[in-house]
Point group: C3
Chain length 433, copies 3
C-alpha cells in the first residue's frame, strides 16, 4: 500500500490514543541533550520502529560547535534545617536546572536564591531551565514555594555527572522508489514536558511505523535528536546526504488543543510549503501559515544559508504563544489524543500529496480529446472539469499541485482525474525536473 | 479608413438594430453541427459578407475526433391516440432532440417518457438538448405539458436522416498590412436560440462587414463554425495558419441585457486580455473579467496546450448564469438591439486599440525635448502630460498599451500624443518584437 | 566621522533655525534661470560651502535645447496718470514677469491689461509668472488691485537686459571612498519664493556643509542649478559622469508644514526608493510615497529614458497641492525652521542608510554559529533575533536593506547586528555588485 492507501486504512482517532499512551510512558524520564534519559527514550521507541542508535563522542567538532560532555543525574534535593526535602528531583525532574553540575553542600538562603528559578507570573508552576554551555547548578520551583523559604541553612545535593561520553540520537531510513528523501525531524531532549516535545516524538514514531509498513515513492529519513546540537551534529556528519532531502518537516508541539500552525521553509515556495498550505486550506479547519524567520526549532539549522533545505515546521500552538510552554504545566493534561490524531492525519495527507505530486504530459495536446468516446464525459463519479484542468495544464511544466492552485480544486480530485486520464492513455508521466 | 475611423463613422445603435434584424431572420432555421440548416445560415450571411463556404466530408479525422455523419430533418411530431399532434417540430425546432435518428412507430407512454426531456424548474420552457455522438431519438417539451400526458398509445415520427455528408463552415479572410492575424470565431450551430448564439453570429457578421470596408494593420480571419467539432476541424486542417494568430476573440451570448464579461486567454496576460481589460475599464460601464478555465466555448480548443493561442472570449451574461440558457426562453425577446450595438462598439474599440498598439522609440531620449519650440507646450487640444508619458517610456520596450497601464491614461490620449510626437520627428516606430 | 555619526552629533532643530536664517537672507534677491540674482545667491552659499561656480555661455547647445540669453533687471514699475508708482518691482520682485524684455512707454489700460497677470481665486496674492522662451514683458499683481485700475494712461517701465551672457550654476563635489556618487540636486532659480525653492537650496547647503566635515563611502555631488535648463545643461556637459550616479535626490519644497512626500525614481525599486521608504516608514511620521510620473522638477531630466538615473524627489507638500505654490504667499511665513530641520534629519538618515547598506557573507553558513561562546547570546544590548536574521540572509545576495525588508527590523538594528558579527569574524564584506 502507498501512503494514501495506508492513511485511508487507519483511524486517526485510534492512532491518537496510541500516541498519547506512548507520551504517558515517556513522560517521567529525565531527558537532556545527552545521557541515559535520551538513550532510554530511544530504546522505548525501538519497540515501535527499528531505530538505529548513533553515539557521537563528546568533543567531536561539528561545524562551529563541539559535542558537549555527557550529563547524567541520579538524584537531587534541597533540605531545610529540619532535614526535610523541600525540593525533590524524584517528584519532578524539572526541579533541577538541566545540565546542573554536581553539588553537595550547606548554603545560606541568600546563596541558595542565586541558584533558584521561578515564574512569578504563574506562581504554581515549575519552570524548565537549562544551562548546557555554561557550567552551573540550580533548582527550579514554584514561586509560591519560593516565597515561603525561611532564612535558615539548607543542604543542597545534586548527584549528577558531567563527563566525557557521547551524544545519542536515533535515525530511521526507509528506502523508497527514489533516492530523493523526505526528512522528518523532532527533538527528544526535553524531560517531563508533554507537548514540547514528546508530542512530536510520538507523532514521528507513529508516522514511521505506518510508512515502513507500505511502499513509497520517496525515501524517508526520521531523526530523533537533541535540539540544536543534534541537528548540527547530524548535518555535520551527513553533509552529503543532506542534498538528497527534497522535502522536510520539523515536528514540535503537535498535541495541544490549538489550531495547526505551519511555518514555511526559508525558500518560502518549496513544495512542502505549498503542500502544507493546500492540505490545511482544504481541511476546512482553522490554521495559520507563517513565513520563515530564523528562530524556533531545528528548522533554524536545516534552513541555514549553507544548507537552505526545503524544511518547514508543523506545530499546533507555536512555542511562546502558550504560557504552559517550558513549564510543569506542559504536562499530560495539556496534550490530547484527539489533537495528536489530527496532527497525524494532516501530516500523512501532506506526505501523501508530495508522493503523488507528479508532472504529466498531455499526449493529445492539440484541442481536447473526445472524452465521450472513452466514457469520461458526464459519467458518474467523474469530475469532467477536473479532467479538463489536468488535460489543459499538463504541458510538462505544471505539477498536479500547480494545477490545484490554478483551478482551486482539491488535490484528491486532480489526482483522480490524472489517474483516469493516465489509464486512458491520454497522459504520460514526465521525469522529475 | 482604418478601424478607429470606421468605428467613429458608425452609429452603434443603428448597427444594433440591423444586427437584431439579422437575428430575426436566422432565428426560425433548424441548425445543427452539420446539415442544411447550417448551410442556409451561411447563405444568408453571404448577403452581408463574401464568406467562403467549406465542406469537410464525414469521416475526416480531425485530431482525436472524426467529422460526424450529416444530420438533416424535415419534420417530426408526436400524436396522441386521437391523432392530435401534441408535439410539433413545425411549431419549434427545439422540440426535437438535436441529431435525433429517424423513427416512426407507436409507443406506450412509458416508452415515450424515456425519450422526453423537460425542465421541471421552468415548467413553461422547452429545453434544448443534443445527442451528437450517441445515436438516440427524443423530444423536448414543457414540463407543464409533460404532466398532462395520459397513459395511452402515441405515434412518434421523426423524419430525419443521418448519413455520410459533410460538416459546413464559413470563413472570411481579410488581408491586412501584416500577415499576423486577428481571429474572430463564433459558433453557428444552435437552432432557434437567439443569444446563444445568433447574437455572436450577427456581431461577427457586422464586424466583418465594417472591417472589410477599410484598411487594417492585422489580417483578419472570421470563422462561423459549429461549436467544438468546428473549431477542432479548422485547427486540424489549418494547423500552420494558427501560428499567425496574434490575437483572437470568441464571440458568444452578446445580445442579452447583462453587463459584458471577458474571459481571459490561457496565457492570462496576452495583448487581447489587456486590451479588453483596458477598454472595459475605461468604458465606465459595469463589466467583469474572469480568468481562463478549460471549459466554455471554442476558446477551449484555441487555448488547448498544443496551441495555446491568445484567444479570449467576450460575452455578456455568461452561459449557465442565466436560466434562459439552452431553453426556448432564449428567444427574440431575450436579445436587444441596444445590447448588440454596445457589444459591437466595445469589440471594435478593442480591435482598434490592438491595431494602434505600437512600440515607439524616443529619438531624443536624453533629457526632455523642448516641446515649446514645436508648439506642443500648453497648446490647446494637447495633453502635455500624455506627451511626457509617451516620451519617457518610449524606450523601445513599452507599447502604447504598456504606457496606458503605467500612466492610467486612456488609450486614445496616449495614441494621440504618440501621433503628435511622431509628426514632430520625436519618435520612430519600432519593429514588432 | 561618517554620516551616521555626524547626524547624531547634530541637533536638527538648531540646524533648522540656521537653514531658516539662510532663507531669510536669500529671499529678497530677484533670481532667474540666468543673471546676477543667481550669481549673488551662489556667492552667499560660498560662505557655507566651497561651491565651484560654472558659467555656460548663451547659445551653447545642450541636447535639444540652447542656453538662453542672460537676463538682468534693475528696476520696473507702472505709474498711473498722476505719476504714482502703483506697481513697484522694489516692493516685490514677483511684480515683474520673470525674463521680461525691457520696455518703457505709455499704454492705455486696455493694452496694459494684456500684460497683467493676477489670481482671481486668491485676490490678495501676486502670482509668479515666467516667460523664458517666448519674449514678452508683463507685470503680476493682486487681483484686488487689478480691479481698482482706472481707464487712464499708464507709464510702464522695465529696466531689464536680455543679452548674450551665460547660465550660472554651483557645484560641489566631495570625494568619497568610492567613485560611485550620490547626487543632490536643487533648483535655485526662483525669486522671492521661500518654499519653492529656497528651502531646497538651504537644505542642500547644510547637507553639503555637514557631509564635507566628515568621511563618507560614496562621493557626493551637490548641484545648485536653474530648473530644467540647468539640469539639461549639466547632463549635456557631464554625460559620462552621470553614469557614476548610484543614488540621487532632487530636493524641493522641504520647508512647509506638510508631511514628507517621496516620489520614486523611474526605476521604482532602486535603492534610493527603498531607502527613503524604509526611513519614512520607521520614522512613525505621516508621509506619502508616490510612483514616478514624468512631470515635476528636475527628476524629469535625470529620469529621462536616455539616462534613467536612480534619482527620486523628496518634498513636503508637493507643488500644486498647496495654493500658495508660485505666489507671493510662498513667503517667509510659509516655511518653518522645524520643518526644515525635520527634512534635514530625514534626508541625512536616508544618506546614512545608503552609506551603510552593504552586502555581507556569512562565513559560517552551515548551521548557526555558536553565539553563546562569543558572548552574543542573550547578552544585554544585543538583539539576538537581529543577529540571526543577518546570519541567515547574508548569503552574498541580500543587502542589509533587503534583510530589513524581510525581517521588518529597522535598519539601525540590522546594521548593529552586522557590525557585531563582523567584529566577531562571522561575516565578511562582499564586493559591490
Amino acid at each position: 500500500m502507498n501512503i494514501s492507501e495506508l492513511k485511508n486504512s487507519m483511524d486517526p482517532k485510534n492512532v491518537g490514543r496510541e500516541m498519547y499512551q506512548l507520551i504517558v510512558e515517556l513522560y517521567p524520564i529525565c531527558r537532556s541533550i545527552t545521557g541515559n534519559g535520551f538513550r532510554q527514550t530511544m530504546e522505548i521507541l525501538r519497540r515501535y520502529i527499528p531505530l538505529q542508535i548513533h553515539e557521537v563522542p563528546s568533543g567531536t567538532k561539528v561545524f562551529d560547535w563541539v559535542v558537549p560532555k555527557e550529563w547524567n543525574i541520579k538524584d537531587a534535593f534541597v533540605k531545610n534545617s529540619k532535614g526535610e526535602k523541600i525540593i525533590d528531583f524524584q517528584k519532578s525532574n524539572l526541579h533541577v536546572l538541566n545540565y546542573s553540575t554536581p553539588v553537595k553542600k550547606a548554603v545560606s538562603l541568600k546563596e541558595l536564591k542565586e541558584h533558584l528559578f521561578t515564574l512569578p507570573d504563574h506562581p504554581d508552576w515549575i519552570p524548565y531551565k537549562t544551562s548546557y554551555y555554561r557550567e552551573n547548578w540550580g533548582f527550579c520551583l514554584s514561586h509560591q514555594q519560593f516565597l515561603t523559604l525561611e532564612d535558615e541553612e539548607y543542604e543542597v545535593s545534586i548527584d549528577s555527572t558531567l563527563d566525557s561520553g557521547s551524544l545519542t540520537y536515533g535515525e530511521l531510513y526507509l528506502q523508497g522508489e527514489e533516492e530523493n528523501e523526505i526528512l522528518i525531524s523532532c527533538h527528544g531532549c526535553h524531560p517531563s514536558l508533554a507537548n514540547d516535545n514528546l508530542s512530536g516524538v510520538s507523532l514521528a514514531t507513529f508516522l514511521a511505523k505506518l510508512i515502513s509498513s507500505g511502499s513509497h515513492r520517496y525515501s524517508y529519513r526520521f531523526l530523533f535528536i537533541p535540539g540544536t546540537i543534534g541537528a548540527i551534529t547530524w548535518l555535520a556528519l551527513n553533509e552529503k546526504k543532506a542534498s538528497s532531502i527534497k522535502h522536510g518537516l520539523v515536528l514540535t508541539g503537535v498535541g495541544d488543543s490549538g489550531k495547526i500552525t505551519y511555518k514555511k521553509s526559508r525558500r518560502g515556495d518549496s513544495d512542502i510549503d505549498r503542500a502544507a498550505a493546500h492540505v490545511l486550506k482544504h481541511s476546512g479547519d482553522p490554521h495559520e501559515i507563517v513565513d520563515f524567520y530564523p528562530y524556533g526549532y531545528d528548522e533554524r539549522q536545516y534552513c541555514s544559508p549553507g544548507f537552505n533545505l526545503p524544511v518547514g515546521r508543523l506545530s499546533r500552538t507555536p512555542y511562546g504563544r502558550y504560557p504552559e510552554y517550558h513549564t510543569s504545566a506542559d504536562n499530560l493534561d495539556f496534550v490530547h489524543a484527539e489533537s495528536l490524531g489530527d496532527s497525524y492525519s494532516k501530516v500523512l495527507e501532506i506526505l501523501s500529496l508530495l508522493g503523488n505530486n507528479r508532472t504529466y504530459l498531455n499526449l493529445n495536446p492539440k484541442c481536447e480529446p473526445q472524452l465521450g468516446r472513452r466514457g469520461l464525459y458526464s459519467s458518474p463519479g467523474t469530475n469532467e472539469l477536473a479532467l479538463l484542468w489536468v488535460l489543459n495544464f499538463s504541458d510538462g511544466h505544471n505539477t498536479l499541485l500547480d494545477i490545484c492552485e490554478k483551478s482551486a480544486f482539491e488535490f484528491a480530485s486532480i489526482q483522480d482525474a490524472a489517474y483516469k486520464l493516465l489509464k486512458n492513455g491520454l497522459l504520460k508521466l514526465c521525469l522529475e525536473k
